[in-house]
Symmetry: C2
């Protein structure tokens, strides 16, 4: 029996990146695509609880069912599970290919990664793919062979329980990609600058522009791997507990 | 000099929970409130990158400035930092008090916790507070004394670098609260059930209803603490790397 593969993304059903991912996955299993109708970048793990959903089927044929909803990437996973998949658990959830890098601290803002993390919460093998090129017309062909290999590896060998993969592909010619590197999430943060404007009615508004600050100079991070033309592969978990802090806090009088 | 305290939440500027938190914090520092104009529950770490912001000041007096924006909780932190706080780093970020529990896997969906985590990413001492009562008219008074103690402790002793606190308060009479417990995040997941409906025009739509599944029977979790009338305090970090999986993946032929 063909493995059941659920595909979603955060750039929306019409993005070039999900088209590329669908083409790679099609020969490997029975495909269900449930993607956001509209772009949902940087929606993180947001879910919709204050509105109902409608599913629109865009294409349905043997072993292929493509739909969209007006929702976030995590909504897509939850809605697919609760509606068209009914009691069938996917063998694999794929998210992406994202237009833009999702390494380092971007993991927490990313809708692409949130869908994969949601899969891992549910105990389903899941992978998020991103290309380090934000262009809507980015060239996804260079990473295709690597993506196919990773998908086949996970279908065959699985992943540790409740762990998904965060795969980032450098936007480079295939010949220049040096290989794959298993890394940890690099330490970084974003700060923002406000750009103040006035609208035609004299009212103030402003845009905020983000600046990435890399705090990590080690060579075992995803940031380093990508800067050095490696595909970065970070095993991702969702336990937010800071274990080293547990005893430290327990030692404080207030919490004793 | 008074410590600078930034306050936000995810239930919106008019929620009873943030009013309670403001009243507790006011005697302890210079207060800046930047909260969402509208309810933003379950918006996780989502940020707005496709629209500008307008700040509306609702109240401004000595050592107190209250504003709202049309944005998510994390937007509130970012916008406050980039606009009205300019180059002043808050000494403390407080988020909440949330109407409803944010323990266990809810941490990842929570806008309340996302704002606190954003603070910890920026290296600012941050605390998210939640009450295990979703009612808009919930009684926040029972936990007030505990919240004041935790805020004072963090102002005085700080937190480990890049770690914030996830504090959940059981909706119980003060006399029944047994104390505070430092815990890890309990293991759990949500599944959803679809409720299919038809609109007056004959078109299908559906709601999804969530069901919480606790996978953890240990007594060191936030779930256990709350069920046993303790205030749960989880130290929260934002490194998603699954460290035990790193070597395991490196041992695979594909990634070697």
């Amino acid at each position: 029996m063909l493995p059941l593969i659920l595909i979603t993304n955060d750039d929306g059903i019409h993005a070039k990146g999900i088209r590329s991912l669908i083409e790679i996955a099609k020969p490997l299993g029975e495909i269900v695509v449930m993607a956001p109708k509209k772009p949902m970048s940087s929606k993180s793990h947001a879910i919709t609880t204050d509105a109902p959903f409608r599913i629109k089927t865009l294409q349905k044929e043997e072993n292929y069912w493509e739909c969209h909803i007006d929702g976030t990437p995590v909504d897509c996973v939850k809605v697919a599970m609760a509606s068209i998949l009914q009691n069938r658990q996917p063998d694999l959830i794929l998210s992406g290919i994202n237009h833009g890098v999702n390494a380092s601290i971007n993991t927490i803002y990313s809708g692409t990664m949130a869908a994969a993390i949601e899969g891992s919460i549910l105990g389903i093998n899941s992978i998020g793919f991103s290309l380090t090129d934000f262009d809507a017309d980015a060239d996804f062909s260079q990473g295709e062979e690597f993506i196919r290999q990773i998908i086949q590896d996970v279908l065959q060998n699985g992943l540790p329980q409740n762990v998904c993969l965060n795969v980032n592909i450098p936007a480079a010619a295939k010949a220049d990609i040096k290989g794959m590197k298993v890394c940890r999430q690099g330490k970084a943060y974003w700060t923002e600058k406000a750009h103040f404007r006035e609208d035609p009615y004299g009212r103030d508004y402003f845009w905020i522009e983000g600046f990435f600050h890399n705090q990590d100079t080690e060579t075992d991070t995803d940031t380093w791997a990508l800067e050095n033309n490696y595909i970065s592969i970070v095993p991702v978990q969702h336990d937010f507990t800071s274990y080293p802090s547990l005893q430290l806090l327990k030692n404080r009088v207030l919490y004793a």
